[in-house]
Amino acid sequence: MSHIHIPDGVLPPWLWGLGLVVALTAVWIAATVAKRADVSRKVPLLGIVSALVLVSMSSEIVPIAYHINLTVVAGVLLGPWLGIIAAFIVEVVLALLGHGGVTVIGLNTLMVGSEMVIGWALFRLGVRVLGRRRVRVVTVVVTIVTLAITTTALVGIVALAGGGGAATRETGALDPASLRFQNPFGGGVFSLNALRGEAPALSGHAATELSVKRFAAVVYTLGPIGWVIEALIQAAVLGYVARVRPTLVFGGALSRRPSPLPVHAEVD
């Protein structure tokens, strides 16, 4: 579960607003750290790895319509700081494609960014413990653990949204008995009760709350299928790169010498 496919307007403003503030702060700190050295090398690297993640997302596994994310691969290649920036770029582009909500860009950045950061940290730890020859095994374990953590974070977000009064919704419901539209709430949207920590004033109608338990049951049932597919693919990709260019996997993409092979990697 890499990014939240929760639409705009479902999460309470305080939650997505807080997500946006935290994510932008993290991106700003990451950009400040990234700018300290060799920034002209980082800009194309960031752009291309972000594009790589986006292109991988557009590649569906037929016929099960599962799309890959490559977030752990991107984290291993970029490291934590650049990973956070890449996550932000990916989410902005996805939001513009209608693939993730615009208001949840912040929360999505934090989710994908944490996948990259946790993936990077666990991968380094795993390689240190199991050795460089076990890249595939390490990647499978790391990807599954990382996705389990971020999925739990997603359930946490829904719990935060669903647990309080802020998640209550009016629906403009049509009463089948009277064939009249009913308004469950009297309070206006700009009263922003949630910001004051109060439940909205109800006018005799039932408030609707997100069912966290059912949501958790669904994502923990369906999620592991995706985790395993993702883990196997990311393991194959990282294993391939580790065999061909080990420095990229064990030292990160910036560990290469500044002098490259000539164009098209052949001596021409």
């Binding site: 164009v263 052949e266 001596v267």
Partner: protein, 297 residues
């Protein structure tokens, strides 16, 4: 230096005078890559004088791109010396970068900005010129290449020929003294190739640009270059001279896995059959003239 041979003119004014105002010099540069491949650009010294058009020929793996990368300061020589506009490009590239224009092999990767206009204006903006001046320079470069109509387009929707013209506009926007072209005709259809060749000839003539070009396209060399260098596998610079001089040395060319242009081969076979046949003419006009003279006795 090989002694200049008495060959008929190929239609160019061979103004190449050794060392009078050398813009580029590469002296026995050695470079080894991460994978262990060794390139030794030794043998003859490579030079390009002001206003000359120099072609670098050689098979795959001979080190043509390596030579260009050294000229552009992208690689640091482990041995030997490189001098471009009087400085070591690997060390002092910032001091000469405004004076050097570059079009690399894969132009798609060279077009960085999201629109054609922004890409051509890239260098002036990065050099901190005022926006009005950057725009003026970009518009002038687009006009020069005849592609003002593409200004608002995005690069990835252009044809191969158009992309190359945009890359060339980006390379010429700062009015450089030296133009470095890596395989500029690769992947172009014959019409686009002829179009680009005509354009390059006009621009280099008009601006008296020193041009260094690596190419596999042997047929463009007599038309474009004043001077040619031939590299052997491993990087050794085996031949240098005017295109006519170089293409006459069939054996040395064969050692470099280079087949001479069709016209050169035709005239060589004619001379085998009839020693009175004329020396190689490398352009169609010259060939028509030479064969006409021969026919009339």
């Amino acid at each position: 230096m090989t002694a200049p041979l008495a060959y008929p003119a190929t239609g160019h004014d061979h103004a190449h005078t050794y060392g009078c105002d050398t813009v580029v010099r590469v002296s026995c540069v050695k470079h080894s890559y991460e994978d262990g491949t060794q390139v030794d650009l030794c043998g003859l010294e490579f030079t390009a004088d002001r206003g000359s058009r120099v072609a670098i020929l050689g098979p795959n793996g001979s080190g043509k791109t390596t030579m260009l990368f050294h000229i552009l300061g992208l690689l640091t020589p482990q041995e030997g010396e490189v001098s471009v506009l009087g400085v070591d490009p690997a060390r002092d590239w910032p001091s000469i970068r405004r004076r050097v224009g570059v079009v690399l092999q894969n132009v798609d990767e060279q077009l960085i900005s999201p629109t054609v206009f922004d890409d051509v204006a890239f260098s002036p903006r990065q050099y901190g010129l005022p926006e009005a001046e950057a725009r003026r320079l970009a518009e002038a470069a687009l006009d020069l290449l005849g592609i003002a109509g593409l200004a608002a387009r995005v690069p990835h929707n252009l044809s191969g020929g158009e992309k190359r013209k945009v890359a060339l506009a980006g390379a010429l926007v700062m009015e450089p003294e030296l133009l470095v072209l890596d395989e500029p005709f690769e992947g172009l259809d014959p019409a686009s190739r002829a179009d680009l060749l005509g354009l390059l000839l006009r621009l280099t003539e008009e601006r008296r640009l020193t041009t260094v070009m690596s190419t596999h396209d042997i047929d463009t060399v007599p038309e474009f270059a004043d001077f040619a260098y031939v590299l052997q596998p491993g990087g050794r610079i085996a031949l240098k001279g005017t295109p006519a001089e170089v293409f006459e040395q069939a054996e040395a060319m064969a050692r470099s896995n280079i087949r001479p242009p069709v016209l050169a081969e035709l005239f060589a076979r004619l001379r085998d059959a009839d020693p009175s046949a004329p020396h190689a003419a490398l352009t169609i006009d010259d060939a028509v003239e030479a064969l006409g003279r021969w026919k009339c006795g």
